[in-house]
C-alpha cells in the first residue's frame, strides 16, 4: 500500500487521439493549485524567519559590536568561527549535547512506542490517559525544570536522603537532566506514535492473527514497518529539539557543575547576552544549525522517509 502521487496513467485500450495532453493539463492545474495552497504558509514563514536567519548568518561572519546604537559591523571575518572551533568550551558543549541527544531520544522513542502500544489496546480509558500524558508535555519548560530542580535540590529536595547531591557531580547532573527531559517528552513521542497506530487499519492486524502470528511477531512484521514514517518524523524532530536544549540546564544546573552541563544553545546564549560577544555567539548558533541540518539530511537519506523519493516530479 505504498502511497504515490496522483498520477492517473493513460487508459489502456481505446484507439484514437492520445490522452496525454489532457492529463498534463490536469497535472499542471493541480500543481498550480498546490502552489496556491502552500503559498500562504510559505509567505508567513519567509516573512518572519528568512531575514532573521540571514541576519544571524551575516553577523557570524562579521566583527560585530553591540551597543546602545545597535549592531556595528567592522569587517568581514571568519575569526568568529576559528574562535569557536578552537574553544575547549565549545568542544565540551558539542560532546555533551550530542551525548544528551542520543540518550534521551533513544529512551523516549523506545519508551514512547511501548506506551503507545499499551494505550492503543486500551478501549475505555484512552481519552483520560491521553489527557494525563499531555500534562507533563504541557507544563511550561521552565516550570518543569523548576519542579525537577526542587526535587533534586541539595538542601530541601525530595531525593535528599537517597541522593544527597545529585547536581554536584557532572555525571549525576547529566543523568538528572536526562530523567527530567524523558519525563517531560515521552508523551510527545507517545502521542505521535499512537496517532500513527490508530490510523493503521485493523484488518491488517486481524490478517496477521489469522496467519497465526503472536503479539511480538505482529509488532515486528506488521506494525513497525507501517509505523516507520511516523517514527521517523518523531525521531527527526526530537533530535532537532534535543540539540537545541536550553531551558533545562539553564534552570536546573546553570550549566554546572562548572560548565559540564552547558549545552550548545546555552553556550550561544551566554556568549551573546552575558558576554555581549555577538560575533562568536551567532557563530556557535549557526554552526549548531549546520550540524543539525547535516545530521537530519543524512538521517533522511538513510531512513528513506517518504520525502519525494518515489515521486516522479520531485
Amino acid at each position: 500500500m505504498a502511497p504515490t502521487e496522483i498520477a492517473p496513467g493513460p487508459p489502456a485500450t481505446l484507439p484514437g487521439p492520445p490522452r496525454v495532453s489532457h492529463e498534463d493539463l490536469i497535472r499542471r492545474n493541480l500543481a498550480r493549485l498546490g502552489w496556491g495552497f502552500s503559498a500562504p504558509a510559505l509567505i508567513v514563514i519567509a516573512a518572519f524567519t528568512i531575514f532573521p536567519i540571514l541576519f544571524s548568518i551575516i553577523v557570524s561572519f562579521e566583527k560585530v559590536n553591540v551597543s546602545g546604537s545597535g549592531f556595528s559591523f567592522s569587517g568581514l571575518t571568519a575569526s568568529n568561527y576559528s574562535i569557536v572551533i578552537k574553544a575547549a568550551l565549545w568542544h565540551h558543549a558539542l560532546w555533551f549535547t550530542t551525548l544528551y541527544t542520543v540518550v534521551t531520544v533513544l529512551s523516549e522513542i523506545v519508551l514512547g512506542t511501548l506506551f503507545a502500544l499499551v494505550l492503543e489496546r486500551l478501549t475505555g480509558g484512552r481519552g483520560p490517559m491521553m489527557a494525563l500524558l499531555l500534562i507533563p508535555w504541557s507544563l511550561i519548560t521552565v516550570v518543569s525544570a523548576e519542579l525537577w530542580g526542587y526535587i533534586y535540590n541539595s538542601s530541601y529536595g525530595l531525593l535528599e536522603g537517597l541522593f544527597p547531591n545529585v547536581l554536584g557531580h557532572p555525571f549525576s547532573a547529566t543523568i538528572a537532566l536526562m530523567v527530567a527531559d524523558i519525563w517531560k517528552t515521552t508523551p510527545f513521542v507517545t502521542i505521535i506514535v499512537l496517532a500513527g497506530l490508530v490510523m493503521i487499519p485493523t484488518e491488517l492486524f486481524e490478517a496477521s492473527e489469522v496467519d497465526g502470528a503472536g503479539g511480538w511477531k505482529t509488532f515486528w512484521r506488521v506494525t513497525l514497518p507501517l509505523l516507520r514514517p511516523t517514527l521517523g518524523i518523531a525521531v527527526l524532530f526530537r533530535v532537532l529539539q534535543a540539540f537545541g536544549l536550553f531551558d533545562l540546564p539553564y534552570v536546573l544546573t546553570t550549566g554546572g557543575p562548572g560548565t559540564s552541563t552547558e549545552s550548545l544553545a546555552m553556550l550561544a546564549y551566554n556568549t551573546m547576552f552575558t558576554d555581549l560577544d555577538f560575533g562568536p555567539g551567532t557563530a556557535v548558533a549557526t554552526s549548531t544549525a549546520l550540524i543539525v541540518l547535516v545530521m537530519s539530511l543524512v538521517f533522511l537519506r538513510v531512513f528513506k522517509a517518504q520525502v519525494g523519493k518515489e515521486t516522479p516530479n520531485a
Binding site: 502552489w35 495552497f37 500562504p40 499531555l134 526535587i151 499512537l194 537545541g244 519525494g308 516530479n313
Partner: protein
Amino acid sequence: MRNRTRHGWRRWVNWVNFFSLLIALFVLLPMYWLVASSFKTTASVGSSPPQYFPIPVTTSNYQVAFGDYTFGRYILNSLIVACCATTLVLVLGILAGYALGRLPVRGKYPMMVTLLMISVFPQIAVIAPLYLIMRDLGWLNSYEALIFPYTAFNLPFAIWILRNYFLGISMSMEESARVDGAGPVRTLVSVIVPQVKPGIFTAGVFTFTACWTEFLMALSFNIENNFRTIPVGIATFGSQFTVPYGTIFAASVVAVVPIAILVLVFRKSVVSGLTAGAVKG
C-alpha cells in the same frame, strides 16, 4: 480480535491495565509533588526533610499569584496568543501539508528541506533581528508580535507532521471524490481532512503547547505588563535571593488547566470518527 472484551475479573486485572497504571504513575508522581507543593507554606517548601503532605494546607500561593502578580492577565494573554497562532498554523499547515504531500508540486523535496533548515535554526540567534523587525513594524508590546513569529516558527513542524499523515491515506480518495464531482477544495475539506484528524490533533496540540510555553520571544517583545504571557510572568516571581516554588507551582497548576480542557474537548471528535472504520482501502 485485538481489543476483545474481557469477562469476569480479567476485565480489570490484565496486563494492559497494569501497564497503563504504571504509565499513569510515571506521569503523576512528579505532578503530585508539584500540586502538593503549591499548597505548602513558604516555610514547609524549604523544610528538610521534605514534607510529603502539605501540612498546614494553604491557598496563599494562589492568592499571591493572582493578586500580587496579576496572573489572570497573563493567562488571558497566553490564551489569545496560543489560540490564534494554533489556528493559523493548522489552517495554513493543512493546506501546505496537503499540497506538498499529494499534489504534483515541483520542487517539494527542496521545499521540505528548507522548512527543515528553518526549524533547525536556534531561536536564540534570531531574537535580536526579530526584535528589530517588530520594532520597525510597530508591533512591540502587542499580540501580533507573538502570534506571527509563533506561526512562522511552528509551521515547518506542523507541515511535516500533517504531510506525513496525509501520505498515509489511500490514493484512491481523490479519484472517488473527483468521480463524485467534487472540486479540489471540497475534496480536501470534506474527504481528506476528516481522515487525518489524529494528525491534525497532534499538530494542533504541539503547536498550542509550544506557544503556551515559549519564553524568549515573549520576554523580548512584550515587556509591558498588559501583554506579558505566562512564562514571562513566572520569571518575575520572587526576588533575587528567593525562588518561590509554592507560587510558581500554584501558577503552573492553573496554567495546565486550559490545555487539559483542550485535549479532552477535541480528542473525542477525533477518535470517534476513526473507530467507526472510515478508513477503507
